[in-house]
Symmetry: D3
Subunit: 335 residues, 6 copies
Amino acid sequence: MPSASPIFTDIDFDRDGKQVSTLNLPHSPHEDAWGVMPIPIAVIKNGSGPTVLMEGGNHGDEYEGPIILGRMIRELDAAEIQGRLILLPAVNTPAVVAGRRTSPVDGLNFNRTFPGNPRGSMTGQIAHYVHDVLFPMADAFLDLHSGGSSLDILPSAIVEPTPDAGLADKIMKAVLAFDAPYTVILDNLGEPRTATASAVRAGLITVGTELGRGGAVSIDALRVGERGVRNVLAHLGVMEAAPDATRSESRVVQVPGAAGYVYAPAAGVFEPFDEKGATVEEGAQAGVVHFLDDPARPPVPAHYRSAGLLISRRQPGHVERGNCVAVIGVDCGDG
Amino acid sequence: MPSASPIFTDIDFDRDGKQVSTLNLPHSPHEDAWGVMPIPIAVIKNGSGPTVLMEGGNHGDEYEGPIILGRMIRELDAAEIQGRLILLPAVNTPAVVAGRRTSPVDGLNFNRTFPGNPRGSMTGQIAHYVHDVLFPMADAFLDLHSGGSSLDILPSAIVEPTPDAGLADKIMKAVLAFDAPYTVILDNLGEPRTATASAVRAGLITVGTELGRGGAVSIDALRVGERGVRNVLAHLGVMEAAPDATRSESRVVQVPGAAGYVYAPAAGVFEPFDEKGATVEEGAQAGVVHFLDDPARPPVPAHYRSAGLLISRRQPGHVERGNCVAVIGVDCGDG
Amino acid sequence: MPSASPIFTDIDFDRDGKQVSTLNLPHSPHEDAWGVMPIPIAVIKNGSGPTVLMEGGNHGDEYEGPIILGRMIRELDAAEIQGRLILLPAVNTPAVVAGRRTSPVDGLNFNRTFPGNPRGSMTGQIAHYVHDVLFPMADAFLDLHSGGSSLDILPSAIVEPTPDAGLADKIMKAVLAFDAPYTVILDNLGEPRTATASAVRAGLITVGTELGRGGAVSIDALRVGERGVRNVLAHLGVMEAAPDATRSESRVVQVPGAAGYVYAPAAGVFEPFDEKGATVEEGAQAGVVHFLDDPARPPVPAHYRSAGLLISRRQPGHVERGNCVAVIGVDCGDG
Amino acid sequence: MPSASPIFTDIDFDRDGKQVSTLNLPHSPHEDAWGVMPIPIAVIKNGSGPTVLMEGGNHGDEYEGPIILGRMIRELDAAEIQGRLILLPAVNTPAVVAGRRTSPVDGLNFNRTFPGNPRGSMTGQIAHYVHDVLFPMADAFLDLHSGGSSLDILPSAIVEPTPDAGLADKIMKAVLAFDAPYTVILDNLGEPRTATASAVRAGLITVGTELGRGGAVSIDALRVGERGVRNVLAHLGVMEAAPDATRSESRVVQVPGAAGYVYAPAAGVFEPFDEKGATVEEGAQAGVVHFLDDPARPPVPAHYRSAGLLISRRQPGHVERGNCVAVIGVDCGDG
Amino acid sequence: MPSASPIFTDIDFDRDGKQVSTLNLPHSPHEDAWGVMPIPIAVIKNGSGPTVLMEGGNHGDEYEGPIILGRMIRELDAAEIQGRLILLPAVNTPAVVAGRRTSPVDGLNFNRTFPGNPRGSMTGQIAHYVHDVLFPMADAFLDLHSGGSSLDILPSAIVEPTPDAGLADKIMKAVLAFDAPYTVILDNLGEPRTATASAVRAGLITVGTELGRGGAVSIDALRVGERGVRNVLAHLGVMEAAPDATRSESRVVQVPGAAGYVYAPAAGVFEPFDEKGATVEEGAQAGVVHFLDDPARPPVPAHYRSAGLLISRRQPGHVERGNCVAVIGVDCGDG
Amino acid sequence: MPSASPIFTDIDFDRDGKQVSTLNLPHSPHEDAWGVMPIPIAVIKNGSGPTVLMEGGNHGDEYEGPIILGRMIRELDAAEIQGRLILLPAVNTPAVVAGRRTSPVDGLNFNRTFPGNPRGSMTGQIAHYVHDVLFPMADAFLDLHSGGSSLDILPSAIVEPTPDAGLADKIMKAVLAFDAPYTVILDNLGEPRTATASAVRAGLITVGTELGRGGAVSIDALRVGERGVRNVLAHLGVMEAAPDATRSESRVVQVPGAAGYVYAPAAGVFEPFDEKGATVEEGAQAGVVHFLDDPARPPVPAHYRSAGLLISRRQPGHVERGNCVAVIGVDCGDG
């Protein structure tokens, strides 16, 4: 059985100039026997130079990436770059339209489906196209995340670790070029199915972000993100540096594996005891879970299992057992 | 057909001391033919004095009120008060358990069901009990709201207007005693079905709040709320004033009716242009709606229709047409 | 606005013989603009004599009543009776088709909608027809319930109390004629919206039952129910007594109001300590709630609040807070 | 408790010219505490003359009315009329957006909620505004329906009967002016809660339609509808007659009550035996219900209960028991 | 781990005569731990001759195939054939019972699951049985589709292309023998997971159809289909030719890949500009998308990207972005 | 891509004493980007001796196993054993919390997902951990099932067949040691994806059970199960025999493949004709399916296809076609 991607498009990836169109993924649900899911894409190319693939909407409730890439699509002129930009501002289109982390089509988290499957369900088909068709065209990959509905996180650029020391060095330089207030080294507990882990395995210079928070659109995070994308493109030689690109001081931290996470010990409502950005002690109470319908029952505490910087808290008060309520980063020295 | 409330309880409202129990509302869904919905309640009474009814969990995703009242239930000794406190920390219990604004049982917004209906669905049955059984016992009513999942709002105490000048004066004094950073006069566009509107019609000294925001639990808002509740109880003569009750300066604003609200002009993702607490101009752009799956389509702006203080913004980026994206308050002079 | 029932039928209630047809209730959902909900009905009439209205399927997951009435509809000859039988074997038709206690059309419990509403949603429209059209034709009413999905109950005939002493006497005699193993006096905590409470207010000789249990079809309960229906019809003079109608000894108990019910004190899985039919002591443990996903947490006990006969237990192990886990009846003397 | 409509708008109904805006209905679900449902409205006014209220989207899956009224809103100049047009092109806005007959907000059929309720759920609140605010402004009412998802119907103008002979005469003249291929006298089996039944009770000259069919947009039906609306407005003196308004011959039929409807006798798939527009005989088979998963089971026939013109068939093959599979009209003489 | 199909049946595929039974697929959902999904099957055999596998209900909302095969099962005598017919009138049984294109059990489109998986979810298990057990028994395969809920299509026989010229010739002859008004060469944009693509890869003489349309049962399509099936069976030598089998003139067209499809450019309601069967020009407007809740917004056009015959339009007016609104076929010369 | 399990835990499997903690499975749904599903686990170890893996909550609506293992976790002292116990009292945690047979996270039946998949959805990830991490540590495996919501079954210990005669002998001895009232040899029609089939393939001494029934918690079944688990642990040399471990007489039966099962011949309500535990004849009626909404339609019978002991009946009266309504076991001689 053939295994090429079923996605088709009228984009010519080798043509100079700006093209704005869609990737068309045939699918055949009850409501539409012979239609497609159109995934927005733009290619902006000018002469020779590196190819940078930029993705927003990996999760559908993280809005700064899609807004920043959409603005570039509308406003950037091909003459302003040298090389090629491939922009996927809303790659997980059904999730973006729904404003949900995961796809309403098949319930999957796009960022847990790499390297994808051309004959699987929709989310894996999109991942397969990114992995098998677009990654091979690219030199670098920017995956623009925000905290989404559940995380209230510090604005950060993200380093995906790799055992390839040469690549790791290029990645760290590119991430520091982004110049977010915080730089976080994070491997998702070794999860290999993410876009960035796959991109790193494919040898791409990979830059992740966590820009905004709480399922909202943040004015600050947009500013950080727009400046950071420009900085990385300048670092890669695709654009000129912006006038405001002066290097600031990004604080570099690493999430120390499972010990960096605090999980809700019971279902209820979590009251945090520290603000995001605080320095916390190992063993201290991170907060308590309240049982609002049973006020006589004493709240149950959760404890930090590592000292360090409180880089993220849970946004919704409501928790199920095991929900992540706090994440700690340990300083690695400045960037 | 009889019209008394079907709710029963083992609470003796006239007994001195602290009782913690439940209101039991019989209901009969598929899963449980002969059970009840238990609604937590506590009564703390000591001698004579005013009766203050305090309610949290009117909406199930507003957590500071329930946490504050739950803590009082566990920690307050009857000897510390003079009079009677009736505490309903999670009045809309099914919504609180679900962490949803509205009740998962019948889909209703508790705060749009007053004066309730003893033979209606569950939400109206609870409202009826509050209105017909508890309001007549009470001299004052505190309804502790937060912004819930959709609002990112300034921490405020709320004045429900009334044409009864004498009552209005008592209400303003009690709300100012709460001493929140902001005091907001707000009538929900004349909505008569809220708990506070009903309480005011019933002649109660009524204090509303909007403590926290974004469906989260806020450390600041808990501090504001705990201090405010204590202040109001002291103002009413039920407790002694707290040592930290020194009067600060609450800024008093009024929402100028429909002109105070900015609604999303299209479905998409809203990017706000101003931070909460900003002073804005009439006619200025409040932000734009982006169409993330169609980046070539120009964003559509929304405009302020009144100058003033930006007291609330929408938390989720995702908007449907008509969603409230901003609320303006006009200064009334300081409190 | 007219308030007659919108239900129409080709049944002629005054015609001798057996007619099997439907009540047709117009409704207009998305799937069917101009259709009806057909509610099965049969009328079996022979000369003069009392009219007995018999209802099965008040709740859609209680099967013995509908099976017994369906068998009568197929097998009973008009010549075997004197008077008129009106049989509604599946009165809450959408719930019966779904096998659910409550109606999938509007989510309502039919037995909480009397006296109904001809312009309300479907469940209330059916209740209105029973109340306003059929009750006035009838001298007696049999409402054949079983325990449904949530109750594991002793096979019982049910007495709906009434302050009218003359009617109460007639009801008690008719219920005892049913001759179930147990006779239970039960007012649903004063609930006025049930079919039997409404029938009693309308002056009908009213016989309730709880035949089977656990959402299952019980061989025993079918035998009890078929014999009981025949016995009641004989008692009312509509049929001859069955050869096996010899009076046995029904144990008569009364549910002592709210104290008769034991409610789950927490969400989890309830382990009962006594078998149905046991004699229990006030204050003894009825069982414990386990927290299966948190085995270190000690189970929480529930206690009987009345001594007596354990007439019903909860069928599903899974409980929410407030679910009824046990019901006690107090002996009234033998029948 | 006040009972005025909570709907507000910036439309000035007395101003000359064309205004396009929204009716704003405050509602407060989980996703949006302080927003509105915006219902599109336009008012086109020029000097004095009759007021004609025109409504599309009463059901959300009937598209010709909304398309026709939307085109008028975009293209009609106030100078082309004499009097006032009030256009509600998508009155049941949530249903129109969803493409569903009934509202996804509260599950209700808008056309079963008149005269509405200002404090009920959303659908009744909209109906109340139409009934209490707009009907009193209007002389005539056009309610532009199509067959929707479930009906495959002949293109028709509809007469809502009234006992008021004078009004009935005006209505018949206006409906015949519409000049659809078929004119159908239809009272929905006496249903009083429809928009047209309410309008007639309010004394308005009322014209209904069933333009398109099968949940589709029909080129023919758009032509019939646009011409018909223009014809009625000319008849009422609000516009000049269109050049193509020459009177054709509408066939006038009446649905003879319940006997006009054929209902599915079982759940399955219905195979019809006659095409729409056929003349059928009483007692003939209208078709059969097949049991596709049990091919050995013989199909079950359904029969016509009245002779006449087959004006509508069911669109979806899938049927539940009681679904309307055919509707018959009996000739009343030509129009 | 064994990989044989878990499906079992009491059918003896080698026995002469007519057998009507079920394929039994064990599955174990919440509602039924140890049951099966029974899939109707019939085998009609007489002596030696080709084996023809005939399938209806590949999609559950396409009714003509199941009705035609069900009628053959009830009415055809084994003596009327020479060879063997294997009939699966409702192969995707759960979808057929639900009247949905896709299976309600696992959400999958049966026609995107070949060659199936004996240990996957239900839809793939059925596909595996058809592919691994039934295809090897068969010489020819008829897959009787209709347009289903979303397509309003011309009645057609379908040619699945194959690079095997000898097989292609046999297929074309068999499809032309069907003698539908239209013959369409269609490869679903190269989709390899369909039943017909798999059958062709397995070397079977494969005949597809699109008989009816719009989720309805069509009198015409039933006639076309019954005659066509008989014609193909005669062509294959299994039955005698029917008296009315005179060859008519089928118009043969080919869908020219992606250029043959018109997709909705925005979400809204699509108004088509041409009737099915029309001849259209490349670049002409196929129709416009209306925004019914925002009548001031101009409709957005969609254009044909190929000239030719309009063989299919979308049935529902409601569209999401990317829904197929029109399909074009290009003439290949007559059949 | 790495294929190790993503599950992590702080349990040290080699440490003596009792540890109670969780397996932590990272997952990333909309509600919780960086959290885990915590799966309760306990390890109780004392010196050397066999390792016994015990699992409850394979299906989430089978409660006796989880209760028994939970009690052992709270009450058993490490000094009471010799060897190692690994207890997973609620292995399919999301299903246990929901009280559903299948997981609400991905809809899968845990007992149809072995050997699992470390990169699949949650249910397969848990199965993979049990299969790849825990099975290799274990000598014996107890999988404590009950009948769940759909089965009303005799209390039984279950033998999973194996072609390995030596293992089969060890398994039979261990199962008989359990000493349930009934011992049933059952291979789920050859289903290879169950926990016990996988454990047997992995060479473990495997004991299954069906303790309770009907989705309820049974006092008897708890007694049978607690005694049986103790007996098996004694048999394996991990604990001392209980004082009440005297061998009773377990009746040993085998389910004779597909012929042992009776399936509902139609959708409706099934009335059984025999009680569980009865001896039945091949060809006799097992019961009838009633059509409650169509009482004139004759009930349809289902027949036994094997003589023997009626070991299980369906609990819910409501049936779909193909639901298992009865299971027969054939005697193998006493145990």
